[in-house]
């Protein structure tokens, strides 16, 4: 009954989305006020119903109800509860339901709280949200029903992919989906603004918290995904330019550009068309990412679906949504007035350059990801990987970082170079000192060398805008900007140093043997069999000492899962402030020794600390924006109350 109840809720939610779309379209006409008044409640109830449907799915997974096909295919009764629950979205149907649920909840929330824009624009926005939502409801109900039954119910389920049985990965899809789907709100606002020809600073202010929120989740999702790949895959790599990674990077690049563009529109009423365009592109990238991952066009851990009908369905949705929005944009773009003007040397000018560079990088990642699929369709298989993406994207990112360093120092509208000259000299000096030191002393290769120097440039520049201002009275968003930019420097430093200074040691060690890797001495003290809830493993016991210091214990495992059968390497990491010791134990060699893989990765953790700092910066900005909005709401309510009192 639980599954049927969930399905019923989903159908009801879909019909409310249809109602929302019809009412929003017809409610725009004269005399449509009654219909228009239905739109907001429809969005809220739709969100509730969808939320209930998702809870029902969680419930059948928690109970391991094997008469539900999805549970039988993806779960197993002997699995820790957390992975039973996470299994609900660790598959195609469940993750699409999660997508639709988040989208409905976001739509319900704007219907409930957003009253700053003209009601016409809000109606168009909610209509657009319902239109996009309806497509995904149709996809769920007709091509990916998560509540389908199986009869007779099997005695036991197939289990969850062992690689996915990891707490980091359990939380990874919901985090990324919050980001992907949060951008749908920006998309709907952009469409609503185009339809009603209402592109104003207010529109950017309303849109901005949603972009920020989505962007924070994307940032954290990508950071966590990278760390997961790093420790789970067992070879110490943290970014592979895998199409699935690119699928999450592209919306992030678009959202980053959109975020900056929307801030210009909010505070300066410039870059109107550019903001609308990016709003459309950002969610389009989310949908393209979902298409790549969900259609099964790439066969990888993430690609659960191999059914081509689904791929075609998503492709059709993609074509309708993106195509429709772009046609609308093309038709209306020239009716949007240009907005305020600005000089080339101004903060707006710097942001234009950065937005163009981010868009170009986005184009390159999109090209490199899709191109092999295109050639494959014509029977030629090629691979596009790190040797292509790294230099080509660096060619755009490195100059962009220079602009990032100087941009925040510039004034809006117009500035003089003489005013910022001392700051620019300080930044350049920091960069040059590091460049020369690293080149002469460490003899770095070109890319790590440029990376480390630019990290120094950006790190110094990040805090210069705070100079001479009262730190106590500094608005939170300014803090947010400084911290996020500093995070970029920290991450870049980690990437460059790890690339340049990683030490790798592969060896076969007997019990009692000592292996050296960089400043570490690692002794294999024992190899023991251990058992977990749904796996058995060989566990290596290692004692590692840094430069002859005290020994630290590490216990990497080679795990064998039995449902489904698969072997994984569980790395063991030892973190110091200046890097990580990464250890993996493999199989036995013929002479009774054990494969040991050891890496010393200096400052590698800075990559993810940087990602966290970027997310934290976003969070501070979001708190700043939302608290101002809340204060404004409280004030208007108080004024209204006082007025009502005096009138009485």
């Amino acid at each position: 009954m639980i599954a049927e109840f969930g399905l019923a809720c989903l159908w009801l939610a879909a019909s409310l989305a249809a109602l929302q779309l019809v009412a929003a379209s017809l409610g725009q006409r004269a005399g449509g006020e009654t219909l228009a008044s239905v739109v907001r409640p429809a969005a809220v109830v739709q969100a509730l119903l969808c939320g209930v449907a998702f809870l029902m799915l969680l419930w059948v997974f928690a109970r391991t109800d094997l008469s539900v096909l999805l549970v039988a295919e993806n779960s197993h009764s002997e699995k820790p509860m957390i992975y039973k629950i996470a299994g609900a979205w660790g598959n195609h149907e469940g993750s699409m339901l999660l997508w639709v649920t988040i989208m409905a909840l976001a739509g319900g929330l704007i219907a409930l709280i957003e009253h700053r824009l003209p009601e016409r624009t809000m109606l168009a926005t909610l209509g657009a949200q319902a239109f996009v939502g309806l497509g995904f409801y149709a996809f769920l109900l007709f091509a990916s029903n998560p509540f389908a039954r199986i009869s007779p119910a099997p005695a036991e389920g197939n289990g969850l992919n062992p690689l996915l049985q990891d707490i980091g990965l359990a939380m990874h899809p919901p985090t990324l989906y919050m980001g992907y789907v949060g951008l749908s709100i920006a998309f709907s606002f952009a469409v609503g603004a185009l339809l009603t020809r209402n592109v104003t600073p207010d529109f950017a202010k309303v849109m901005r918290p949603w972009i920020l929120g989505a962007w924070i989740f994307l940032t954290l999702g990508i950071t966590a995904g990278s760390y997961w790949a790093y420790y789970e895959l067992g070879w110490g790599g943290w970014w592979f330019w895998d199409p699935v990674e690119n699928a999450s990077l592209m919306p992030w690049l678009a959202a980053t550009a959109l975020l900056h563009s929307a801030s210009v529109l909010a505070s300066r009423d410039a870059l109107r068309t550019w903001t609308i365009m990016l709003g459309v592109i950002a969610f389009s990238m989310s949908m393209i990412g979902t298409f790549l991952v969900r259609s099964g066009i790439l066969t990888s851990v993430h690609a659960f679906a191999v059914d081509p009908t689904r791929g075609t369905f998503i492709l059709a949705l993609l074509a309708i949504n993106i195509g429709g929005a772009l046609v609308l944009f093309a038709a209306r773009a020239n009716t949007i007035a240009e907005g305020e003007r600005f000089a080339p040397l101004s903060r707006e000018g710097a942001l234009v350059i950065n937005n163009v560079a981010l868009s170009a990088v986005l184009g390159i990642v999109l090209l490199g990801t899709l191109y092999p699929l295109v050639t494959e369709a014509f029977g030629v298989r090629v691979s596009v990987g790190p040797p292509y993406f790294n230099p080509v994207s660096a060619a755009f990112v490195f100059p962009m970082l220079l602009v990032l360093a100087v941009g925040p120092l510039l004034r809006w509208r117009r500035d003089r170079f003489a005013r910022v000259k001392p700051a620019v000299i300080a930044i350049a000096a920091a960069g040059l000192v590091v460049l020369l030191a690293m080149w002469l002393i460490a003899g770095l290769a070109l890319f790590p060398l440029l990376g480390v120097s630019l990290a120094a440039v950006v790190a110094v520049a990040a805090f210069l805008p705070l100079q001479g201002r009262s730190l106590k009275r500094l608005p939170l968003p300014v803090w947010g900007m400084a911290i996020a930019h500093f995070g970029v420097a920290v991450a870049l430093f980690g990437m460059s140093v790890d690339t340049a200074f990683t030490v790798e040691k592969l060896s076969a060690a007997g019990v009692g043997d000592m292996v050296e890797v960089g400043p570490w001495q690692v002794r294999l003290t024992a190899v023991e069999p251990v058992a977990g809830p749904n796996w058995t493993a060989l566990e290596g016991r290692l004692s590692a000492s840094y430069k002859g210091g005290a020994g630290h214990m590490l216990a990497p495992q080679s795990r064998t899962f039995w449902a489904p059968p698969q072997t994984t390497s569980e790395s063991a990491l030892l973190t110091r402030w200046n890097g990580q010791l990464y250890t993996v134990v493999g199989g036995a060699t013929q002479d009774g020794r054990w494969q040991l893989r050891l890496w010393w990765k200096p400052f590698v953790t800075f990559i993810w600390f940087g990602g966290l700092l970027i997310g934290l910066g976003g969070l501070l900005a979001l708190i700043g924006r939302v608290s101002v909005d809340v204060r404004r709401r409280v004030a208007t309510r108080r004024i209204a109350a006082r007025r009502a009192e005096t009138a009485r």
Binding site: L233, G234, W235, G236, G237, F240, W241, D242, P243, V244, L298, T299, S300, V301, R341, F342, A343, P344, G349, V352, I353, V356, A357, S359, A360, G363, I364, L367, G368, Y371, T375, F378, V380, R381, V382, S383, V384, G385, P386, P387, Y388, V392, A395, F396, E504, K505, L506, S507, A508, T567, S569, G586, G587, T589, Q590, Q595, R597
Partner: protein, 134 residues
């Protein structure tokens, strides 16, 4: 008939089982003693696709085929062969798919032309937005 089937299964399974129990190739999990040669081999291995994995290079895969290829590459590097030569040999044997470093060919030229076009387009947009209003 049944015994014939059983025999067939055993006969077919035997090579597969034998393949699984084979020890990994000598240099699959062992580095070259000369750090300069090892670095050369490592740099090459990082740009070659593991054909039996998803989006992993042979430098970071546990697949047995990746291990065999690592061993082959280390052996050839140690014998003094150049990385470029080894890459061409592998492409000849497995096709362009094996190399993560796309070559400029009749099929792949847009991969290089489009970023150049994006650069020009970007400069053009920046010039248009910023140039006129000094």
């Amino acid at each position: 008939m049944k015994w014939l089937f059983a025999l067939l299964v055993i006969a077919l399974a035997a090579p597969a089982a034998a393949q699984d129990s084979l020890p990994p190739a000598p240099y699959a999990y062992r580095q070259l003693d000369d750090p300069r040669l090892e670095a050369k081999a490592q740099a090459l291995m990082e740009t070659l696709r593991c054909l039996t994995c998803q989006s992993q290079s042979i430098a970071d895969s546990d697949a047995s085929m990746a291990g065999d290829m690592r061993s082959e590459i280390r052996t050839r590097i140690a014998a003094g062969e150049s990385p470029g030569h080894i890459r061409r040999w592998l492409i000849g044997r497995y096709g362009d798919y094996i190399s993560y470093e796309p070559r400029v060919t009749r099929v792949t030229w847009p991969l290089f032309a489009i970023p150049a076009a994006l650069l020009l387009l970007g400069l053009l947009i920046v010039r248009r937005r910023l140039g006129e209003r000094a």
